[in-house]
């Protein structure tokens, strides 16, 4: 099994899909000749041509809207937002046209929207956001967020095969930092959660880049506690069974979001636990998230708001002592 970076795994999924399915079409700004702002599609035009690896006008609503049109006449468009922040310009098409289409008219919209998200590199307020909760709140859109190289590939294949609009949150901070063994060829990772590390005293629930933070936070053993890490992988659908199962076994829960705290994915997980896992709890549900501020540019300011290893460790220690 080859070892790939998270970014190489994304490229590999896209390449395999383009080879396997003539309906697959990549659309985005600067993805063709230039190979993408992060080089995910570097060299693709040489193999697949500029029609299938399409440099679009600088128009995010245009990218999502035309992808919808292409999808309903039989294509499988994969749209790249250069930064997930820019999806705000395509929000209406995604939420109102794509998300509601099947419910209203029984018409499937098989599009995948790749959203390079997250901070940690002084991207500032417009290149660092984690907009997944916007789409969790919009019916008809699936949302997935891989944390490992293998899931980056498998979830992307599954997203492209899915007959619905799927927001694929790829975390920029993981692109070249996360590496792992990745199966070759086309395979699907299910839209379910994964126990990244089993434990029984406390569970840390995370997704995307926060899974690495969680793993690092609990790596020193937390004074001998048995700590589980649950990687959600999919936010819509949300794997309620896996979450409640972890809560039942561990009884104490820390939920991490890199997104702004209010109404974040973790807030939904906390609500689920309050509704359906209350009897299993041995302490308050603890959340660690970015406060409700735009992501600041300067390194000490950014580090002050994004959840880091120390904050997570401290939250776990306090809860274990509860």
């Amino acid at each position: 099994m080859p070892t790939l970076t998270y970014l190489q795994a994304i490229s590999s999924a896209l390449r395999d899909e383009l080879r396997a399915d003539p309906r697959v079409l990549l659309m985005g700004e600067d993805i063709g000749v230039f190979g993408g702002a992060f080089k995910v599609t570097d060299g693709f035009v040489d193999e697949f041509g500029t029609d299938r690896v399409m440099d679009t006008p600088l128009a995010e609503s245009g990218i999502i809207g035309t992808a919808i049109g292409a999808a309903v006449v039989g294509m499988r468009p994969v749209c790249e937002m250069q930064f997930s922040d820019f999806i705000s310009c395509g929000f209406d098409q995604l939420v109102n046209v794509a998300g509601k289409m099947h419910y209203r008219q029984g018409l499937a919209v098989p599009i995948t929207v790749r959203l390079p998200s997250g901070g940690g590199f002084s991207g500032g307020p417009f290149h660092s956001q984690n907009p997944e909760a916007w789409f969790m709140h919009s019916p008809g859109i699936k949302v997935v967020a891989p944390s490992t190289a293998s899931d980056a590939k498998g979830l992307l294949h599954a997203a492209i095969h899915d007959p619905n609009p799927v927001c694929y949150m790829e975390h920029k901070h993981l692109y070249r930092r996360v590496k792992g063994e990745v199966p070759s060829g086309v395979f699907e990772t299910p839209f379910t959660a994964r126990v990244a590390q089993p434990g029984s005293d406390l569970v840390v629930i995370a997704y995307g880049a926060m899974v690495s933070v969680a793993m690092e936070a609990v790596s020193d053993g937390l004074d001998g506690a048995s700590v589980e890490v649950l990687d959600l992988r999919s936010l819509v659908p949300l794997d309620e069974e896996a979450i409640l199962d972890s809560v039942e076994r561990c009884s104490k829960v820390v939920i991490i979001d890199e997104a702004n705290s209010t109404c974040a994915a973790g807030a939904q997980v906390a609500a689920l636990i309050a509704e359906k896992g209350f009897e299993s709890l041995d302490g308050p549900v603890v959340r660690v998230a970015t406060p409700d501020v735009p992501i600041p540019f300067s390194p000490p300011l950014e580090a002050a708001v994004l959840p880091g290893v120390e904050r997570v460790r401290e939250a776990c220690r306090e809860l274990l002592a509860y």
């Binding site: 035309t66 992808a67 309903v72 006449v73 099947h102 419910y103 098989p110």
Partner: protein, 350 residues
């Protein structure tokens, strides 16, 4: 890129290039059916049987009838809310349309969306959303797929004068121009976006903008179904020949309020009276009557059809409340749009 005004057709006779007598009757029939169905729906609305509000296209019937008539079975349409005739031409039955208005289970959206917010996916149509120019991009994307696959097909969409102010108008026009796509944009200029007149909407007639995007813009008398047909037919030829998009400005008038609740006090009475003289149905009837077409019996047969459709729709059940949470996601295979009816004699049908 030339922007030109299509030859206005005179009252009694038209420069008919591509329409047989049967086609011309088809156009009248579609317009009469549209008006009749909308009038019946308005009655049902007043009787409390149509929930929400009700939107119609009274006086604008020629825009959708003429345009949709020029489209082939494999072409794809994104239809606006004052364009009911397009649905009829594609093959949606009157009973399903009335059921749709009344939020019944047999409506095209099975009660999930209201009034003309529908498209029958089996007939090559995508229903509109309320953010009106959104569908310009969807149609552009369809055309993009056709071009990528080398298919001789085109996409068409309608939108209003108000839509020309929104960003998606620009994004779609620009995208279609850059990629030279087989798409037809029908700007249904009915003088008012809700209460806002066109002089508060744009400083330059939007048909002029087509040239700025690198393609042809044409102004057509939107109250002449045959002129609409000819303009769209020519645009479709251009599209299929690889000559790119066309913007067609259909000049017409919204003769009723924005919706049933709107008394349109903001429209000068003289303006309405002036346009009433240019009624598209009356014009088509006058043309055909002199050719010996029995208009009275045509009207009678349409009325009978609408009576039967209303009876059928009223007898149908409301949707099951327990189904309200179903169908948000597609659980099976994604099935693309199917082909629609295309009654124009030039397609060899009927």
């Amino acid at each position: 890129m030339a922007t030109h005004t299509a030859e206005p057709a005179a009252g009694g006779e038209a420069a008919v290039e591509h329409l047989t007598l049967e086609d011309r009757v088809w156009l009248l029939r579609a317009m009469l059916m549209m008006r009749g169905l909308e009038e019946r729906a308005m009655t049902l609305y007043r009787q409390g049987k149509v929930p929400g509000s009700f939107y119609d296209g009274y006086g604008q019937e020629a825009v959708s009838a003429g345009a949709a008539f020029a489209m082939g079975p494999q072409d794809r349409l994104c239809i606006l809310h004052r364009d009911l005739a397009a649905h009829l031409i594609r093959g949606v039955s009157p009973a399903r349309i009335l059921a749709q208005y009344m939020g019944r289970a047999a409506g095209i959206t099975r009660g999930r969306d209201g009034n003309v917010h529908f498209g029958d996916r089996h007939l090559g149509c995508v229903g509109m959303v309320s953010m009106l120019p959104d569908m310009m991009l969807v149609a552009t994307g369809m055309a993009m797929a056709f071009k990528l696959r080398g298919e001789a097909r085109c996409a068409m969409t309608w939108f209003g004068d108000g839509s020309t102010s929104r960003g998606d108008f620009h994004e779609a026009m620009n995208w279609a121009g850059v990629q030279k796509l087989p798409v037809i944009f029908v700007l249904e200029n009915n003088q008012y976006a809700y209460s806002t007149p066109v002089d508060k909407q744009y400083a330059v007639d939007p048909v002029e903008r087509a040239a700025a995007y690198g393609f042809v813009g044409v102004t057509v008398d939107g109250n002449d179904a045959e002129a609409m047909f000819e303009a769209v037919h020519a645009a479709r030829e251009r599209a299929l020949n690889g000559d790119g998009p066309t913007l067609i400005e259909a000049v017409t008038m919204r003769m009723h309020g924005h919706a049933a609740h709107d008394d349109m006090k903001y429209v000068p009475k003289e303006q309405v009276e002036e346009w009433r003289k240019r009624d598209p149905i009356e014009r088509q009837e006058n043309r055909l009557r002199v050719l010996g077409v029995d208009i009275d019996s045509l009207r009678a047969s349409i009325k009978a059809e609408i009576d039967a459709a209303a009876e059928e729709a009223l007898a149908g059940p409301m949707p099951d409340p327990s189904s309200a949470v179903e169908g948000v996601f597609c659980e099976g295979e994604a099935e693309p749009l199917g082909d629609g009816q295309a009654p124009w004699s030039g397609f060899g049908a009927a």
